[in-house]
């Protein structure tokens, strides 16, 4: 176990921060760190908060974190912002909203940028949650802009997902298009003091009712990675389904924050009661293993391509119609297939 891991487990803030930096940079040795930390995890509640830009996510998260802190619980927040696809740079502004927890070290807030070129942001988020969990945080909040597959993957790291909808955020079609109904366990109409809030609540309710009665409702049932046995587990545990509640808040004044926390707690109880918490954890780890396998196998293949002189020559051959992409792939993968098949034959 490295000094850094020991320092993190001992509760040193700078060590936690450095571990997350290593995760973000994928510095040499970060995998060993995560491996060492894994056995110390499993105690934190993880909440994902997503919604369109300007919905009030950071402000709500700030108030939620402050309330947890008043109750004597420690909090870790990961806020993900987009980065420029051109310069790779980013201005990470979510910290500005964290005024209620200023100077409080037991409220650990970390901004992460979606470093496009490195990819695997959802992996980095999962690992950062691992670090915060191992550090001993009671509550972990992952906050992200809710658009696109990447974000959906990220919120899957959470036990409970809250979707923020600002009033007047468009007609029904917009909501469907974003696919937010599938991922939310709790819906929040923030800025509920604005005109149109009632209408948004009503629309949301209609939309949610439209899909009720679906077995296994909620985002975790919708994942392609859900294994068959997970579905079987859900059936065994009875037919109780979760109807996502809609909470109205005015986050900047702290109104409705208690209601929101109660809704989160209700969902937590539901997860425990039905055994779905364990089911979700299983799905999550299965997905993580699959992702890592895919990434690592991909890297092996990139190296193999380099050893064979790079991809360009294959592209040339394909353009010249001497070969085709499928044949190229078969050729590159052939040695790998042989390796994997060999021991099976011996057995």
């Amino acid at each position: 176990m490295s000094d850094l891991v020991a320092d993190l487990l001992a509760g040193k803030h700078s060590a936690l921060a450095r571990v997350i930096t290593k995760i973000e940079n994928r510095s040499p040795g970060y995998r060993e760190i995560i491996s060492d930390l894994h056995q110390h995890t499993g105690t934190a509640d993880v909440v994902g908060v997503t919604g369109s830009p300007g919905a009030g996510k950071s402000t709500l998260v700030d108030k939620v974190a402050a309330t947890y802190r008043e109750r004597g619980q420690t909090v870790g927040v990961i806020a993900i912002d987009p980065s420029s696809p051109f310069s790779g740079g980013a201005v990470l502004g979510d910290r500005i909203r964290m005024a209620s927890n200023a100077g409080d070290m037991d409220m650990f807030f970390r901004s992460m940028s979606a470093r496009g070129s490195l990819g695997g942001l959802s992996t980095a988020t999962t690992d950062a949650v691992t670090a915060l969990d191992a550090f001993g945080k009671d509550k972990i909040i992952v906050e992200t802009v809710g658009a696109g597959q990447n974000e959906v993957d990220i919120v899957r790291t959470a036990d409970t997902v809250a979707v923020l909808v600002p009033p007047g955020s468009g007609d029904d079609v917009q909501m469907l298009k974003a696919g937010i109904l599938e991922i939310g366990d709790v819906f929040v109409v923030n800025k509920a003091d604005l005109d149109g809030a009632d209408r948004t609540v009503q629309q949301l309710r209609e939309m949610l009712q439209g899909q009720s009665g679906r077995p296994n409702s909620g985002h975790h049932g919708a994942t392609e990675l859900a294994a068959d046995d997970a579905e079987a587990d859900a059936e065994e545990s009875g037919t109780e389904t979760w109807d996502p509640p809609i909470v109205e808040t005015v986050a900047n004044r702290g109104e409705g924050v208690e209601d929101f926390l109660n809704a989160l707690a209700d969902h937590g109880d539901y997860l425990d009661r039905t055994g779905r918490r364990e089911g979700q954890a299983r799905e999550r780890f299965a997905a993580e293993i699959r992702t890592l396998l895919r990434e690592d196998a991909n890297e092996l293949l990139v190296d193999e391509l380099d050893r064979r002189g790079g991809i360009e020559q294959y592209v040339d051959a394909v353009i010249e119609r001497h070969t085709d992409p499928y044949t190229v792939v078969d050729e590159v993968l052939a040695p790998l297939r042989e390796c994997l098949d060999e021991p099976r034959d011996e057995n």
Partner: protein, 140 residues
């Protein structure tokens, strides 16, 4: 190969912090954008931060560069508090500490003595600052 590439392209993280009561953040905004366009990740603190908030941000965000903007003239009070806080959390040695603002020559010497790495006054160019950060960003 990939490891080398990642190391040379390590993303530098900068905190741009406005401390104390001065409300002039135009410059800080311009700097935040320039640093972003230079490929850095910039964490902007917002206005009117207390020294311990700056310390909290610098530690938790694990920034390479702590940029402190003060135009109120209170640098002799505020900067040492930040430096002490960083030392307390073991986050001083491997961080570049920059101060931006109007700092008289005598004070500059004092601040440097306390651990400020560089001070950028009026007229300092963006290129100058970005080059300085590229050259002096701590090895980690």
């Amino acid at each position: 190969m990939s490891v080398e590439q990642e190391q040379t392209e390590r993303t530098i993280r900068c905190l741009v912090a406005k401390v104390g009561l001065d409300g002039h953040d135009r410059g800080a905004h311009v700097i935040a954008r320039a640093l972003r366009d230079a490929g850095f990740e910039v964490i902007y603190s917002g206005l009117h931060r207390a020294p311990d908030e700056v310390v909290q941000a610098a530690v938790q965000e694990d920034v390479d560069v702590v940029g402190i903007s003060i135009l109120s003239g209170a640098h002799n009070t505020l900067v040492p508090k930040i430096l002490d806080g960083l030392k307390e959390y073991d986050a001083f040695d491997d961080r570049l500490i920059l101060v931006g603002g109007i700092v008289p020559d005598d004070d500059q010497e004092e601040l440097r003595g306390q651990g400020v790495d560089e001070i950028f006054g009026p007229g300092a160019s963006m290129e100058e600052m970005i080059d300085y950060i590229h050259q002096n960003a701590p090895e980690r």
